[in-house]
Amino acid sequence: MPQVSLTVNGTKHTVEVEARTLLVELLREKLRLTGTHVGCDTSQCGACVVHMGGDSIKSCTILAVQCEGADVTTIEGLAAADGTLHPMQEAFREYHALQCGFCTPGMVMSAIDLVNKHPDGMSEKEIREGLEGNLCRCTGYHNIVKAIAAASDVMQGRTAELTPAAAE
C-alpha cells in the first residue's frame, strides 16, 4: 500500500493509504480529525475545506498520495494552544454565523483564505462571491458575510478588537 508523509496541524504523520484514498478520508479516518466534513460528492459544498501550504483546498478533491510533504491545517489546528479562538472563529460566534455547525469548519477555513488573499479588505459583494464554493443550508449566509467582514478588520489590523454585533 502506498505511503504518504505530511504535516497536519504542525504534527508530522506517515500513513499507509490505498491509492484511491482522498485527503479528507485520510484526515477523518486515519488521523481521526473529524472536524473536516464531507457534505457532497461533487466538490460543490466546501464542508471539507482545509489549508494546504496556506491555500484553501477542497480535501475531497485531492488524493492523499498527492499530499506528500504537504503542510496541512484543519479546523482543529486554528485555535491557539491556550484555547484562544482564531479571530474568524470568534467572529462566527459573535455574529451567529453558524447554526448546525456542519458547514462551519469548511466555511471558516475558506473565509480565512479569502481574507488573506484580500489584504485591503472586501466589499459585501466580494465576500459573497468569495463564498461561491461553500454551501450552508441553515443561515442564509447573511451573518457569515458579516462575520467575515468583522474578522477581516481584526486580521488586517483595521480594528484592534472584534467589532461586536449590533445590539438587538
Binding site: E18, R20, R28, R32, L33, T34, G35, T36, H37, V38, G39, C40, D41, T42, Q44, C45, A47, T74, I75, E76, L78, A79, L85, Q89, F92, R93, E94, H96, L98, Q99, C100, G101, F102, C103, T104, P105, V108, E124, K125, I127, R128, E129, L131, E132, N134, L135, C136, R137, C138, T139, G140, Y141, H142, N143, I144, V145, A165, A167, E168
Partner: protein
Amino acid sequence: MNAVQPFEGIGASVRRKEDFRFLQGRGMYTDDINRPGQTHAFILRSPHAHATIQGIDTAAAKAMPGVLAVFTSADMTAIGGIPCGWQIHNKDGTPMAEPKHPVLAEGKVRHVGDPVAVVVAETRAQARDAAEAIVVDYAPLQGVSSTEAAIAPGAPAVHDGVAGNLCYDWHIGDKATTDAAFAKAAKVVKFSTTNNRLVPNAMEPRAAIGEFDAMSGDYTLYTTSQNPHVIRLLMGAFVLSIPESKLRVVAPDVGGGFGSKIYHYAEEAIVTWASAKVKRPIKWTADRTESFMSDAHGRDHVSTAELALDTDGKILGLKVHTLANMGAYLSTFAPCVPTYLYATLLSGVYATPVIYAEVKAVFTNTVPVDAYRGAGRPEATYLLERLMDVAAREIGMDRVEFRKKNFIPTAAFPYQTPVALQYDSGDYFSTLAGALETSGWATFEERRSEAKARGKLRGIGISTYVEACGIAPSAVVGSLGARAGLYEVGTIRVHPTGSVTVLTGTHSHGQGHETTLAQLVADKLGVPMANIDIVHGDTAKVPFGMGTYGSRSLAVGGSAMDKAMDKIIAKGKRIAAHLMEASVDDVEFERGTFRVAGTDKTKSLTDISLAAYVPHNYPIDEIEPGLDETAFYDPKNFTYPGGCHICEVEIDPDTGKVSVMGFTAVDDVGRVINPMIVEGQVQGGVAQGIGQALLEAAIYDADGQLISGSMMDYTMPRADDLAPVSVATHTTLCTHNPLGVKGCGEVGAIGSPPAVMNAVVDALRDFGVNHVEMPATPAKIWNIINGHRMAAE
C-alpha cells in the same frame, strides 16, 4: 452562587454555548463516531424508477475482499415494513391506501434509489466495490412521476391493489355553504399553480451506526435524527420487534434536518438488524447522491383555487383542489402534510367565511415526499398569497388595501376559521405596517423608475401569512389520524451544589437549544448559564420525547421544562419553609431566592438543593429527598406565528436573471427568548424561500428518472444568490402556553416564496404576465420577456 446576570435571561441575545465545539471541529456528528470493531455498509439502490426484480445474484459480491455479508429482502422475512405515523380517511370514511413499505425491495422497485441489497464489509470502499458485483435482474416497467399522470386512466400501477394510484381522496370544510357563497359572488377569481418539489439537502448527509451487544441483547442505534425516541418507537415496535428497554437510539450532533431527518428510514433498520447478524457494529453514511434519491423530498403540489368576492372586494369564500405527490411509499408524516398542515391553513390571515378544500394524494415512482421546512404551510401560503395578488389585479384594487380589507380584525381573536383551526392571537395590521415602513413600500415607484432608466425591471411583492406550529394537542391530532401523542417531556435536575442539568425530549440540529433552553432556566431559577447543561438526543438519558419539528421545541418542549421548574419551585418552597421555620404559603421565589414574604429571611436555590440531597435537617417524613422533577406537557392548541414579508427584485431583461435587491420580514413569533437566534432562524428560512422561488426544483422525467440528482444539477442557494434580509418582530403572546411563545423555525420558509414571486410578477407587469411558476429561472424569465418582444414585433 452568583446571581443571574441580567443579560442571560429571556430576551437577551446570549451567544451560543454550542458554538465552541462546532467552531473548533469538535462537534460529534454520527459519521464522526467510530465504534470498536466497526464495519461498513453500502446500500445497493435501484437505478430504475419502476421494475420487477427477477433475481438477485450475490455470490460474486460475497466472495469479494473484506465482505462479511450481503443481505437482500429474502434474508429479512421476519421483519416488518416501515410504518406510517398518520392515517388519513377518505371522504367516504374509509382509510387511506397504505401499501407495505419494505426495508429492502421485495420483488419490485418503485423509485430510483429504492434500496435493493446491503453489503457489509471491513471498509466502506470494499462494501462499495462488492455492491458493484451484485447482479440484479431487473425487468423495467413503465414508471410515472407526476401526480396528474399518475391518476390518469391507464397509468402504471405503483402498487398492486392501489386503484388509480390514489392514496386518499380527502376534504375539509363545508361544500354546500361554499357553493352557496360562490352563487352569490360578484366576482370569482381562479388560479392554478404547481408548488415545485424540493430536495432538503441538510448539509450533513444521513448516517447510522447499528451495534448489538450479544451478552445483554441490547441494541444501540446512532442516527442522524430529529427525534430519537420516535425512531426507537417506530423501529422497535413495528419493524424489528425490539422492546424499548433493549433499544437505545442516540441522535448526537446533527447537521441540519429541516424535516428530512424526522422519519424512520430503511437504513436505520438495516444497520441495527444486520449488526446482530454480523455481530459487529455497522456504519452507513450516505453520499450526497444517495441523499438526493433517498431523503424524503418536500412540496410537489398541483392546485387550483377559486376565490369568491363581493362587489367591495370582500372575500365570500374559497375553493381549493389539490393533487399532492406522496412518492412511492408513505413516509412517516407524509399523509398529514397536504391535509392537516396545508388545507387547515387556507384561511390564512383573512376572515374567509367559508372554505371547501379537496386533496387527492397520489403514489408515483419518485422518492417519498414528506414534511420539509414549513411542511404544507408554505404550499398553503404560496397558493393563497399568489391568489390574493391575482385577485387584486383582476378587480383593480391595490394589493395592500385588498389584504387589509380582508384581514381578521385584531379584536377578533380567538378566531375560529372554517377549516378547523382556532387562532389564539395575532395582529396582522401591525406586522404589515412595520414591513411596509421598513421596506420603503411607499417610495418603491421611484426605485422602479430609476431601475428602468438603467434598463432593469424592478418589482416589489408582499406576503401576509399565518402558520400553525408547536404541534400539537395529542387528542386533537389523534382525532385527525396521528398514531402518536405530540406532548413533550422535560426534566429539571438541580444538583446538590446548585448546577442544573436539563433533559429534554426535543432535539437541536442547528436551532441553538443548548443556549435558548438554558436561558429559560437562567431566567426562572436564577442559575448562571455556565451552570446549566442541556441534554438531548439519547433515549438512554432522556426519559421520553417526541423530538423537534413543526417549530415545537420551545412552545411544547420549553413549556414542559417550565412546568418541571414549577415543580422544582413548589418543592423548594416546602423545603425552604422548613429551613426558615415559616409557613409554605409565606414563601416566595424569584430568580434563585426563596424569601419569607415581608421579611429579610432568604435561602438560595443552592441552600435548598444542598438540603434536598444532604437531608440532615429535613422534613423527611413529608418530603422525599432530591430536587429532580419531570413534566410532560401536552399543548392546548397549535401556536400561530404570522407576519408580513416584502421582497424587492430586479430583472435583467437581457439574461432573465432575477436578483433579490432587498427582503423585509416582520414576524410575530410570540415572546422572543433570544433575538439573535430568532433573527438567524428567520434569515435561514427566507433563504430557503428565495431558493424555492428562484433556483430550486427536483426534476424527474415523465417515467421517474431523477434528473436533478446532484448538487451540480440541483441549484442550491449560494451567498451571492441572496441579499441581506431585514428581520424584525412584533409580538403578540401565545395565550395558551406558559411562555407565550409561538415558534420561529419555519416562518421564513413559509412567508417568503409568494413575496418573491409577487415581486417577479410585478416586475414583469408590462409584459402582460399574470403568473410565473417557481422557480423563476433565468431561462424561464428570458423566454417570457423574449416571447413578449417577438409577439410585439
